[in-house]
Symmetry: C2
Subunit: 416 residues, 2 copies
Amino acid sequence: MNTTFSFTSTHTDAHSNARTGVIHTPHGDIQTPAFVPVGTQCSVKSLTPQDLMDLDTHLFFVNTYHAYLRPGIAVIRQFGGLHAFMHWDRPIITDSGGFQVFSLGRVREGKMEDGKKGKLQETALAKISEDGVEFQSHWDGSKHIFTPEKSMEYQWTLGSDIHISFDDCTPYPVTHDTARASMERTHRWEERSLKKHLELQMTNYELQKRPYQALYGSIQGSVYEDLRKESAAYISALPFDGIAIGGVAVGETKAEIVSVLDWVMPLLPEHKPRHLLGVGEFDDIFALIEHGVDTFDCVQPTRLARVGVVFTRTQNANIKNQHESDELDVMKRYSIDVTKSLYAMDDQPIDPTCHCPTCAQYSRGYLHHLFHVRELSAYRLATIHNLYFMNQLVREIREAIGEDTLHIYKKRWNLS
Amino acid sequence: MNTTFSFTSTHTDAHSNARTGVIHTPHGDIQTPAFVPVGTQCSVKSLTPQDLMDLDTHLFFVNTYHAYLRPGIAVIRQFGGLHAFMHWDRPIITDSGGFQVFSLGRVREGKMEDGKKGKLQETALAKISEDGVEFQSHWDGSKHIFTPEKSMEYQWTLGSDIHISFDDCTPYPVTHDTARASMERTHRWEERSLKKHLELQMTNYELQKRPYQALYGSIQGSVYEDLRKESAAYISALPFDGIAIGGVAVGETKAEIVSVLDWVMPLLPEHKPRHLLGVGEFDDIFALIEHGVDTFDCVQPTRLARVGVVFTRTQNANIKNQHESDELDVMKRYSIDVTKSLYAMDDQPIDPTCHCPTCAQYSRGYLHHLFHVRELSAYRLATIHNLYFMNQLVREIREAIGEDTLHIYKKRWNLS
C-alpha cells in the first residue's frame, strides 16, 4: 500500500492529447483514463461495494453533501471514514458539496434530477455570502452552512483519497460579469480550502493517524474563454495534487463543454491528474479522453440502467433506416430499452458479445419481465451490465492509447 | 443428471418423527429437511437466481398464478420453461395457482399481503363452479379460468420439477359442512389433476421431450380432525409422487397448525416426500420438522428482511428484562430491526457469529444507513442474510437428525 499520492503518465497518444497513466493512492492504484461511478448516498444505486469490486472499478465517487446529511459526518467519524463504513478498500473521491448546495439555491435551466429538461423551480434554500453557503436540507428543512473550511473538515473525516476544494458553482446561463465575480470568489474559496487542507494534513502528519489525502483544485469560468483560461492558470499555479474541471454539465451544450476543454486542457500541468466533474455520457467519452482528461464521473450509465436502457456494442438492429439512424443520437444507436414489449420473448442476452455477469446468465426476456413487474433485481442486473460496458470501453481505450491506435479504435464506434 | 424423480429417506430421528432424506429430481438433489424460498414473480425479491445458488438453495418455489399473469405462459413456453427463463438449473416447485385464485375471491381473516392482521376486503373477483374457478386478474381486471386440467397444463409448460395438484383452498374460519364439501371437491379436482398430469406425462414420454415432472397431491380438511384424516388417507392412496399439506396458514393459530400435523403426518406413506405449503416461520421450523415434514416454503424470512428485520443466532441483547423476554415471541428474541436508530453507529455485523456474505463485509450501521435512505442494496443484503440463516439452520438440523441429537440441538434455541 502506498502511503502517498502521485500520478505517473505512462503514454501520450501520438494523434491526440489522450494519455494513459496511473494515480497512486494509499488505497491502491487507479489506471487512467478511468470512468468513475457515482455513489450518491454512499452506495451506487442497486449495487454493493463488492459488486463494484467484481466489476473492476478502481475509484468510487461519493457526494459529500449527501454523506453530510445522511448518515451524517458523526456516523462516518465513528466508523473511521468512508472506507470502513462502506467496506470499500480501494480509492474514493469526494466532491466539495458545493454543487448540491448551489443546485438547491438557484434557478437553473437544464437537466433536472429525473433527467427531464426544464426549468427547476425557484427555491430559497441556499444563501451565498463571502464566508460560504447557508442552505436548508432537502430532507427535513434543517439549516446548515458549508464554507471552504467546513468542506475540508468534512472530506477529511470522510477520509476519501481525493478531495475537491470548495468552489462557487457558477450557474448557467450567466453574464460575463456574474461569471467573473463567481470565478474570483471560487479562487478565494479555493485558497482557503488549500490552507485548511494543509493544516489538517500537518496535524494529521504529526499524529501519524491517517494515510495521505489528496486535494484537487477546481477550475470555473462558465463558457467564457478568457475566464476559463484565467482560472486554469490560477488553479494550476497553486500546490494542489490534481485539477478538477468544474462548472460543466450544468446546462450548456455538448459543444460548449468541448470548447471549455479546448481552452483549459493545454494550460494544465502535465504531472497532475485531471478530473472532469459530472461529464461522461457515453458519447462524450472519446472527446474528453482525447483532450487529456484522466478521470471522469457520471451518473448516466447507472441512471439509464435503472429505467431499462442498457448499452450494446453493436449498433441497434431495430433502427432499420440507416439515414434515420445517422440523425439519432449516439446513445440510441448503442443501447436498447429492454422494457419495450419487443424484448418480452427475446432469449438473447442484452449484448451477445458482452462478458458481464448479467449477459452471461440472463436474457433480455427475463430482464424485460423483471422490469415489468418491478422486481428489484432488474435494477441491479442492468446496472451491472452498464458499468461493465463502461469499464470495458475505457480498458479498450487505454490499450488503444498505449498502441497509438485510438483514432482507429474510435472509428469502430462510428462516432463523429 | 437423474431423469426420474424419487425420494430416499436416509435417517429417522430416534426421538421424534423428524427425518433426513434426499429428493432426486432431473435437475439435481434436494437435501431434506429443506427450507424453500418463494420467488413469487419468477424472482425471490431483490435476489438473482445466482444469489440463491451462492446461498446453497436447493429448491426454488414459483407461484403458477403470478407466472401465468406475468410474464404469461406463452412467454415461458417460448423459453422452454422456467429453468431456462430464470437461468436456474436446480429443482423448481410450482403451486397449483389455487391459493392465489381463491384468496382473491373470498373474505378471509388472517394475515394480509402486507403482514398486518385484519379482515381482507370482500371482493367478487373469483367464482367457483364444479369445473374450476373463474377470476379476474388483480393487475388489469381481465377474466381467466383455472381448472384442474388447466393448472396441470400451465405447470407442465412452466416445466417445474414438482407440481401441485389443483385443490379447493378451504377458507378459515369455516363450518364443518362447508369444509367437508370443499374437501370433497378437492378430491374430485385432484383426481382430475392426476388424470391430466398422467396424460401429459404419457404424451411427453412418447415424444421424449422433457425430463420427468413430479406431481404432489394436496391434503385439505381445515381444522377438523375427521376431515384431515379422511383427506390424508384419500390422497395417500392415489399414485402421486409426493404429498403436500395445503389449507394451512390461512388464519388459524399456530397450535391449530400443529394439530393438523398431529392428525395427518402419521397417515402418510413413508416413501413419499411431504411438503408443507406456506408454513416455515422461524419458530415453526422445529415443530414441523419433528412431525416429519421434508420441505416447506415460506415468505417470512425474505419479507422480514425487506423491512429490516434480520435474524440473529444469539438472543437479542437489547431485551434487558429476562422475564419480559420470555413472553416475547421467538422472532423478537432472535432478530433485530436494523432500521432502529440504536444501530446507526454500530460497526458490528448483523450477527457476529454469522458467515454470510453480508455479515462478512457490512455493518449494522451501513445497513441502517442503506435502509434509512432506501438504497436498493439494503433489501438484497438483508435478504441474503436471512436466507443464509435459514439454510444454515436447516443444515444444522439435518446434521442433528443424522446424529439423533435434534432434541439437544433444539435446546440451544431455548424454544418451547
